[in-house]
Amino acid sequence: MIACLLIPGFELRAALRERPRLTVAPAALAPEPGAEPLLGPVTAAAERAGVRPGMRLGEALATCPSLVLVERDPAAVEREWEGVLRRLEDAGFAVDPVELGAVVFETGGVERLYRGVRPALERALAAVGSAWDPRIGAAARRFTALAAASVARPGQILIVAERDEEAFLQPLPLSLLPLPPERYAELEGLGLRRIGELARLPGDAVAERLGPEGRRAWRLARGGRRARVRGRAPAIELAEALAFPDAVANELTLRRALGSLLERLLARPERAGRPFRKLAVAARLVDGGSWRRAVTLRDATAELGRLRSALGPKLAELPAPIVELRVEAVELGEQGGRQLALVEPGGEEAAIRLREGLRQVRASMGTGSVCAVVEVAPWSRIPEARALVVPRDD
């Protein structure tokens, strides 16, 4: 059986761990800096006062003037979520995290250990802890388990038997299906509000009207495919941190600190010669908040220069001076997967690499971002007449 453990508003709950008093007050997760001013998850007290997740900040403050905005704390969220996953893994479940606050796992391997599905799921709830208000949905298919967890109450285990899956899904709202907001509006315009109403339509007609994403939603509305859950690769604990005596904002100092942390990380014996596939750079901000950015490398590498070039630019996104910088190895690559060149690449090989590099710059910055300098009158006495900068889109 496939189970889904859900902790709604996980980011807010994790950010409130340091300030538990706010959990009973009207509070909401502040909008992301630089993004649209839309609220994140809200507490039950805020919901009672009429504030809803995704509401505009101005509207929310007008509705509930005593609303407390909780600063985002991505490093704490990541740490707490990893803690939840590890506790589940310690209880014997091979977990597949869907997103923050939602994880899927199979009970097949531990049913005999805990003597049944329900005792196994009770063990999972106990492993996570009641402070998080987790709830579990279980079914033969992944989507049904997710849907069951979405409608379960805190601390509840909702098991849907295979023969009841269709009847269970039918009355549920369409918002449980992974569709863009405009698609929901389109479906509502067609008079569809429940999953069962979509499931009853002919699949070809849905695909013709709504495209591939509609077809996928239609398939999920009928229960989705039967697929086994593949547990994540065991997480690694490789991180290096540097605390500063005073708050630091100078980019040069930060880059030097990053270089030193990377050197320390590369020297860790636990790495056993494996290159890094995914790294994260995190910081504790001077005002108490935190900041985190993860980078997945195109090719797993253990070259200091390449790691520096991949993580260095992220430091420019720091929103405030920091008091601690941390580099975490999120995922390691396979050992010795890269064939080194016997002789320095030159000629055609170098040209291929250059073309690939330029293609990537164009892909991220747009056409016209790569230019070449063309000499038009190098003999001219007027400096600006000697050369032109010409976009190079070939």
Binding site: G368, A372, V374, R381, R386, A387, L388, V389, P391, R392
Partner: protein
């Protein structure tokens, strides 16, 4: 390096390299710069004139100065004698 530098698209989007930028200059009585972009000039290292394209409708008549500012920065400024204003440029 560029396959079709003369194409219509390239011509449309092409920009000048080392285009002059307007500068705020206070000059002495002899016309040499004393203050450039609110920084005192320590030394005038070199001076030269460029007179060109006098046969066209856009003649060039510039008096260049290579200066060292109080901060230690090296800079080239010129007085455009046609437009009667100052610019900085890498010569």
């Amino acid at each position: 390096m560029v396959s079709h530098p003369g194409s219509a698209r390239a011509r449309r989007a092409a920009g000048r390299l080392n285009a002059p930028r307007p500068a705020l200059v206070e000059a002495g009585i002899d016309g040499t710069p004393r203050v450039v972009n609110r920084q005192l000039v320590s030394v005038v290292r070199e001076e030269w004139r460029v007179v060109d394209r006098w046969w066209t409708e856009e003649p060039v008549d510039r008096r260049y100065f290579e200066v060292v500012l109080e901060s230690g920065q090296n800079l080239c400024v010129y007085r455009d004698r046609e437009r009667r204003c100052w610019f900085t440029q890498s010569a």
